[in-house]
């Protein structure tokens, strides 16, 4: 129901636009004409980069998030403080300034330390998205792990398992059911935020749209298509999340 409604709005715009050709110029992305088809191909070809950036950033965020969450679960106040500082600090930085800092600033930091590590738009975007998102994944892990009863880790300790074995074999396999669905939802956030990579010159969906708007001067039509492209991506991911949730739920019952 929700999904149909979400699709209806842009469709309405489309129909409205087609019927009054004064304000809309769909020819610019009309796949039946050769120039329109070239334009559509140009726009959609940014999809690969958007997906790549988002996927790699998501994987990194999943790893960093766990590494940040673990000290947050410690009984030692010092370790918990490390977790809090990271989460609060990273959460409060807007994505765009962080992107500029990583892309323009970080190479200079590296240089001053005598390392020559260039950062291209691709990795600049990935690093920024991963770090920005990791503050959220860390909190998801923490909540998930805390939801597992204390008796479980005590029982694991009394049969001689160390900290990492306890996490690996007892706690995480149980917590994963609570962690995975919200983690997958975070992926949607990453996909949407990856649009910012356009400003440092990454050739992804949004950048392509911007470039075409400059040459064709048809912002309404091109950005409408752009929104559609994100919509399709996000709908596919949410379908995946729902499938995952159903499977996790089924596991829990059986």
């Amino acid at each position: 129901m929700m999904k149909k409604a979400t699709l209806a709005l842009p469709l309405f715009l489309l129909v409205a636009g087609c019927s009054s050709s004064q304000t809309w110029g769909w020819y610019v992305i009309d796949p039946t004409t050769s120039s329109g088809w070239t334009n559509v191909k140009f726009l959609v070809s940014g999809m690969g980069a958007t997906i790549q950036i988002s996927l790699i950033a998501a994987v990194l965020s999943i790893v960093i998030g766990l590494l940040v969450a673990l000290p947050g679960l410690s009984e030692k106040r010092g370790w918990r403080l490390v977790n809090r500082v990271y989460v609060e600090f990273v959460r409060s930085i807007p994505l765009l300034p962080m992107l500029f800092w990583v892309f323009y600033g970080l190479p200079i930091v590296f240089q001053s330390m005598g390392m020559n590590i260039p950062i291209d738009p691709f990795w600049g975007a990935i690093i920024t998205l991963a770090i920005s998102d990791s503050a959220f994944t860390a909190e998801i892990y923490r909540a998930g792990i805390q939801s597992i009863a204390k008796g479980q880790s005590e029982a694991a300790q009394t049969i001689g398992l160390n900290y990492f074995q306890t996490m690996r074999y007892v706690i995480l396999p149980q917590a994963i059911r609570r962690i995975l669905p919200p983690l997958a939802n975070q992926f949607i956030y990453i996909v949407k935020m990856s649009a910012f990579a356009s400003v440092i010159g990454m050739q992804e969906l949004t950048r392509r749209a911007n470039e075409l708007v400059v040459t064709e001067y048809r912002p309404l039509e091109i950005y409408t298509l752009l929104i559609f492209e994100y919509l399709v991506l996000v709908l596919i991911i949410s379908a995946g999340v729902r499938w995952l949730e159903r499977r996790m739920g089924a596991d829990e019952r059986g």
Partner: protein, 246 residues
């Protein structure tokens, strides 16, 4: 005189400003069965949890098998592998089968091969009278069966001492005896046991030493003959008369 399996000397513990254990002195000889009873909140669980280092005591000495417990994580690891623990709430691992629950410790902590660990697991499942439940998940078992799996899981680590913290308190009445029967068998086979319980029938049958705790202190301890027939302290008399009425 045989080796003491466990020795607590003047052990004190605080939760914040709350003095939960006061000068606890307790010796458990190898092969001995000690039953601890006392009113709720008296510190019984805390004593047992200090022995296997789930809680830290602030002063006094605890020795397990002659090794003193300290902040050294290495000593904690040695102690834990020698001291088994059975919890009131079983604390089985719900995502693993019964067999996997039993083999996890031996494989990961002891380095046994899967085959060795499974043979051992089946052996102990037989000892607790549920040889045919190996491939089930804990949720598919009754409470009594779950607790017996938990006992088998501890036995698979072949501990020198087995601690029980109210092992039958979470069970339906009709399942209590099946768990107690297993514990009596273990006792008869010579296992060193420290049992927190209010099952006085069991205590009479197996205890070598009875311990009564109240408000963080060991108020009375002694042989069951004396303990049940003429306890010296008034608090213990009162507690026993209450509990034996049921």
């Amino acid at each position: 005189m045989p080796d003491a399996a466990i020795e607590l000397v003047d052990v004190n513990k605080w939760y914040g400003t709350f003095h939960v254990l006061k000068d606890i002195n307790l010796t458990v000889q190898s092969g001995e069965k000690v039953v601890i009873c006392g009113p709720s909140g008296s510190g019984k669980s805390t004593v047992v949890r200090c022995i296997n280092q789930l809680e830290k005591h602030q002063n006094g000495t605890i020795r397990v098998d002659g090794v003193e417990l300290s902040d050294n994580p290495k000593s904690a690891a040695t102690i834990r592998s020698e001291v088994g623990m059975v919890f009131q709430q079983f604390n089985l691992f719900p995502h693993l089968t019964v067999l996997e629950n039993l083999t996890l410790g031996p494989i990961k902590a002891r380095g046994l091969s899967r085959k060795e660990a499974e043979d051992k697991a089946r052996h102990y499942l037989e000892r607790v009278h549920i040889p045919d439940q190996a491939d089930k998940r804990p949720v598919q078992l009754s409470g009594g069966q779950q607790q017996r799996v938990a006992i088998a899981r501890s036995l698979c680590m072949e501990p020198r001492v087995l601690l029980f913290d109210e092992p039958t308190s979470a069970l339906d009445p009709e399942m209590i005896s099946e768990v107690l029967d297993v514990m009596v068998e273990l006792a008869q086979e010579g296992m060193t046991m420290v049992v927190v319980t209010h099952e006085m029938g069991f205590a009479r049958k197996v205890a070598d030493n009875m311990v009564f705790m109240d408000a963080g202190e060991i108020v009375e301890q002694g042989k069951p003959e004396h303990f049940f027939t003429n306890p010296r302290s008034e608090r213990c008399q009162k507690f026993l008369s209450q509990i034996l009425q049921h």
